[in-house]
Symmetry: C2
Subunit: 223 residues, 2 copies
């Protein structure tokens, strides 16, 4: 068994799938971490399970956490419709879930400390960040500092935890090209904000995905 | 309705009860936030509910979060015994739950953003901190920075969120004296790490509580 362990945040989308394969390619034994946070649908959790299994992770934790219980996001609040996308807009979309990545990274830090893992991977990009403030490098760095102040490993044992955000300055097209090299099975990944049998093709996330596959010159095997 | 809203982390222990009453005394409309995180017993959640009700909070959210699912703490892992306490020891006790306050503050930030609240109260003290790294001011400050980088309120709207840790340099005896002034009903609070009908009187937390009431010259009405 490898002694190099990483926690990988795995949503079921393509970014985190590529992040998982990247961690494995760097020799990490991977503990995948997914959240059931009151999303409208469980389609992306099914994808997360399939990706984790195919990649051969050491463990996969699915943590239930009802961030949706206070509403305010159309991803968790069944009363709010998911709007059609506009990839050029710059305001904060209604699909924003308050402090989502902060909560996910905090729970990842808890699991990292429980396992003695010094590495956390998150597949965020501030290039394709859709207006989400918690996908920026300034946030990731601030969170890494907080994690190292708030864990025994970081604050007492001189075994600091690193948050790897390898795609922070990459486009989704870059990620897709890397994913092809690493053998990611994109047919298992799910990006659509709506929860049908097939991607809707019109929400923000579907539009960004289609644009990225086109830019990368790769066929999207999920369609 | 007051426009000044605060999220108060409410465990059911005496520190957070005093923090709640302090927030109310400062004119905040209080949203209490408690966690069912796989504690051995629900006794402290019963206390949290009773305190919130008596204090007249605007809302009380109890969020289920299975941090206990990865074990490593005797507070969440039924296979690990709770040791008797030694108030003078300086190592990290087995009751440490990895990154607990970081996860709690992250979820508090999510709720704060959903409600438009700019204030979060947490009743930690680094004087009586029992070796917990996530009860230190350096962590609280780092977390406040991360919250303001990772929320729209902090990063985009110039409405930064403040984490109030009013007891960070107070002893538990100081908190008890303040609680008496503010009208806290200590009979509703619960500190014992073990989950019986009555506090065990021998765990770390019971010993610290008894010592603090003695120092404050106050009778503990919970006994």
């Amino acid at each position: 068994m490898s002694s190099k362990q990483a926690i990988v945040l795995l949503s079921g989308g393509l970014d985190s799938a590529v992040a998982l394969y990247l961690a494995k390619s760097q020799g990490f034994e991977v503990h995948a971490l997914s959240f059931d946070y009151g999303q409208r649908h469980n389609r992306e959790l099914q994808s997360a399970r399939a990706i984790a299994q195919k990649a051969g992770v050491t463990s996969h934790h699915v943590v239930s956490l009802q961030l949706g219980s206070w509403g305010s996001s159309s991803l968790t609040d069944a009363a709010m419709p998911v709007e059609d996308g506009d990839v050029d807009r710059t305001d904060i979309p209604a699909t924003y879930v308050p402090a989502r990545n902060m909560v996910f990274l905090s729970v990842a830090a808890s699991l990292a400390e429980a396992r003695g893992a010094q590495d956390i991977f998150i597949g965020v990009s501030q290039v394709d960040y859709s207006g989400y403030v918690d996908c920026r490098e300034s946030f990731i760095k601030a969170m890494e500092t907080a994690i190292n102040q708030g864990t025994v490993m970081g604050a007492e044992l001189n075994r600091p935890i690193t948050i790897h955000a390898p795609f922070i300055y990459k486009t989704k097209a870059d990620e897709i090209r890397l994913g092809v090299e690493l053998g990611v099975d994109f047919s298992l990944t799910w990006s659509c904000y709506r929860g049908g049998d097939k991607p809707c093709g019109t929400c923000d996330s579907c539009l960004l995905r289609a644009k990225a596959f086109a830019e990368a010159g790769v066929t999207d095997t999920s369609l």
